[in-house]
Assembly symmetry: C2
Homo-oligomer: 340 residues x 2
DNA sequence: TCGAAACACCAAAGCGCTTTGGAAGGCTCT
DNA sequence: AGAGCCTTCCAAAGCGCTTTGGTGTTTCGA
C-alpha cells in the first residue's frame, strides 16, 4: 500500500493525502480525518526510503563505533545504550552504529554526513582537542558530545557529569579523614574524564598542601586486571598510599583482590572510593566491604543525550549549551580514618 | 556531485556511468576506466538513499533491541557487537539498532521488514519456540539466529555454541572428581542456552546415576548479586553441593563472595566451574582462585554472525544450515576432588 | 456587486539512483 | 552484399515520497 494507491482509493491527490498525514494546515479537517482513518485502516506507512530521498530526514541517530581486533568496546557502552534506546523507542528513532577503524574514524564521520545517513550523531569518550568534535562541528550535522573535550576554539553542546567535582569531593573526604598519601587509579589518561578526575583529586589535596606524585596516579584501560596491577604496584611501595580513588567499579574489583592478596584490609589499611556508573550487574554495596562511590547513572545520561539529539533534530534546541550533572558521593564501609 | 553531474561531465549517459561503476559487463573496459577514474577524482559516492529507493538494498543489518526501564541489556552484547562491528566494518555494513518495547518486539520486526530498513537481521538470546524466529522466517528477510530455539516446526540458520556439551564436560569432570552433589547456577531459564546447559549437567550426572534436584538449579539474570544469593542459598543447606557450575563469570564473582562470607574455601569446600564468554575486562585466571571455565569467545561469534549475514544478503549462503561451535574446557585451580 | 483574501485541493517536478527496452554501429558468416 | 549478432551506449521509466506553483471555489469587507 503506497501513497498513490491510497490517494487513488480516496479520490484525492497524493499532495493532499501527504499533507493530511503530515499535519499541514492547508487541508480540510474533515478530509484529514478521512485520510487518517483510511491510512490507519489499510495500515499505510510511508516508505522511509522514499521519504528520506525526498526530505533528507532519516529518523536515525548515528554513532561511529571504533572497532578493531585490539579495540575493546567499553562495557559502559551497553548501559548508555539502554538509556538511549529507551528514549529513542518512544520517539520512533533508530540508532545506527557505523563501525570504523579506531585509528581513522574521520572517514566514517565524513561518509555518514555526506550520505545523509543519519539526522544527528553523538560522540562519546572525548579527549582534549578532540578531532571528532571539531569535525562534526564543521560538517554541520546536529550532535551532542557525551562528556567534554577541552581546548577547542569553539563551543559545542555536551552532556557531562561533574567528574572533577566528584573526585574533588571524594579526595576531600579522604583528606579530612586524615589520609596524607592518596593515589588515583584512573581510566585512559588521554580522555577528558580522566583528566578531570585527576584534577579534582589534586585540587582537594592542594587545599591541604598535599600533592599527588607522578607515581601516585595510574591511567589504564578499565579492566579488573589493570586495577589489580595498579593496586599492587601502589601498595607494595614503602610509602604506600592509605587511600585510593578509583575510576571504575571493575577496576575496584582488582584493587580489592590486590588488597586481599597482600594480606591487607579495607578500610583498616586502605580506604577506597570508586566511581560507579550504575551497572545492574555489579553493585558497590555488594562488595565484600561495601564500596563508597561517586555515583552517576550512565543510563540516564544515555536517555538525556537521546532527548537532546531529538530536540536538535527537530530544531527545538539550538546553540552550544553544555550541561554538567552533579555526582552523588555515597559513603559506605570502604572508607575510614587513616591508619596511625 | 551526483550521477547526473558526473555523467554530464563525462559526456555519457547516467545509465552507462551507473553500469560502469557497478561492474556490469555491457560497458567498454576503456570507458569503465575513464568513469571509475573520474568518480574517484571527484569523490563521487552514490547517494545511498537514492540507491536504496531504487534497489531496496540498504547496506545495513538490523537488530531489535529490547528496551524498557526494567530491561537490562546484557553486557555480553557489547562483546558480541565488537566482533560484529569488526567484520561489518571491512564490508561497509552498518548496524541499525531498533529499540523496541521488550514485550512487543513483533511490531518492530514487522516495521523494519515492511519498511525495508535493513537487508538482514539477527536474533539473539532465543527461547524455545521463539516467536521472533518464527516471525522473521515468515516475513522472509534474511536472518541468522545467534543461539538456538527449539520446538519450531521449520529449520532456520543459526550459529550457536555447544552449551550442552560444554556443561556436560564440566559436570562429568566434577563427577569424576568424586562430587556427588552438584548444583547449577544458570542464566534466565526461559532461554535456550540455559536449558541446554542444564541438560548437559543432568546428562553427565545421570551417567553416574546422580540427579540434579529441583533446588539444585537456580535460573536468574546474570548479575553478581544473583550469583551471591544463589550460592548462599545453596551452600547454607545441610546437603550443600560440593561443586557448582555457573553460567557466567559475573555470577561467579558473587559465588566467590558467598563462599568467602561463609568461611569456606575454593576448591577445598567447593569446586567451581563457570562459563567464560571472554571479556577483556574480567578474566577467569585472575580470580583469587583461578577459575576453571568453559570458554567460548562471544566476540568471534559476533564476527561469524556478521559474516553469515553478509553471505545471506549477497545470496552466497542459503538454506537453513545451523552451526554449533565446540567449547573449550579450561581447567584452573578452582576444581578439586570432593571433600571427604 | 466586485475584488481580494482565504480555503481546499491538484498536477507535476523534483530527490538521485537503477533498470528496461531499445538503437546505432561494427563484425562475422554465407 | 545482406542477414544476423555482438558490442556499446542511451532515453526514459520507474522507486514512493515531498513540495512547488498553481487553480477553482468561498468568504468577506467595502
Amino acid at each position: 500500500m503506497n501513497l498513490k494507491q491510497l490517494s487513488h482509493m480516496l479520490a484525492l491527490s497524493q499532495t493532499t493525502v501527504s499533507r493530511a498525514l503530515n499535519g499541514y494546515p492547508e487541508v480540510n479537517e474533515e478530509t484529514r480525518r478521512r485520510v487518517m482513518d483510511a491510512a490507519k485502516r489499510h495500515g499505510y506507512r510511508p516508505n522511509p526510503s522514499a521519504r528520506r530521498l525526498a526530505t533528507g530526514k532519516t529518523g536515525m541517530i548515528g554513532y561511529v563505533l571504533p572497532t578493531g581486533t585490539t579495540v575493546d568496546i567499553d562495557p559502559h557502552f551497553v548501559e548508555f545504550l539502554s538509556g538511549l534506546g529507551d528514549y529513542a523507542r518512544s520517539h520512533e528513532l533508530d540508532l545506527v552504529l557505523s563501525p570504523a577503524d579506531a585509528d581513522d574514524q574521520e572517514t566514517t564521520y565524513r561518509r555518514i554526513v555526506a550520505n545523509r545517513q543519519v539526522d544527528a550523531v553523538y560522540i562519546s569518550s572525548p579527549r582534549p582537542a578532540d578531532r571528532r568534535v571539531a569535525l562534526v562541528n564543521t560538517l554541520g550535522i546536529p550532535f551532542i558530545v557525551h562528556g567534554r573535550s577541552e581546548g577547542l576554539d569553539f563551543d559545542y553542546p555536551f552532556t557531562d557529569i561533574d567528574n572533577e567535582g566528584a573526585f574533588h569531593e571524594a579526595a576531600r573526604l579522604l583528606v579530612q579523614l586524615g589520609h596524607r598519601r592518596l593515589a588515583l587509579i584512573n581510566g585512559d589518561g588521554r580522555e577528558t574524564f580522566a583528566i578531570h578526575r585527576e584534577r579534582g583529586v589534586r585540587r582537594a589535596m592542594a587545599a591541604s598542601s598535599l600533592v599527588l606524585g607522578e607515581g601516585d596516579v595510574c591511567s589504564l584501560a578499565m579492566t579488573e586486571e589493570n586495577g589489580y596491577r595498579a593496586a599492587r604496584r601502589l601498595l607494595e611501595r614503602s610509602d604506600a598510599p592509605t587511600a585510593i580513588a578509583c575510576s571504575s567499579l571493575i577496576m575496584a574489583l582488582g584493587v580489592v583482590r590486590a588488597v586481599r592478596d597482600l594480606g591487607l584490609t579495607i578500610p583498616g589499611d586502605l580506604s577506597l572510593i570508586a566511581h560507579d556508573d550504575v551497572f545492574p550487574w555489579l553493585k558497590p554495596e555488594n562488595f565484600s566491604v561495601p564500596l563508597s562511590t561517586t555515583r552517576s547513572s550512565i543510563r540516564l545520561a544515555g536517555a538525556r543525550v537521546a532527548e537532546r539529539l531529538a530536540a536538535r533534530i527537530s530544531g527545538s534546541e539550538q546553540g552550544a549549551r553544555g550541561e554538567v550533572w552533579p555526582v552523588d558521593l555515597v559513603i559506605r564501609g570502604s572508607v575510614a580514618g587513616a591508619p596511625t
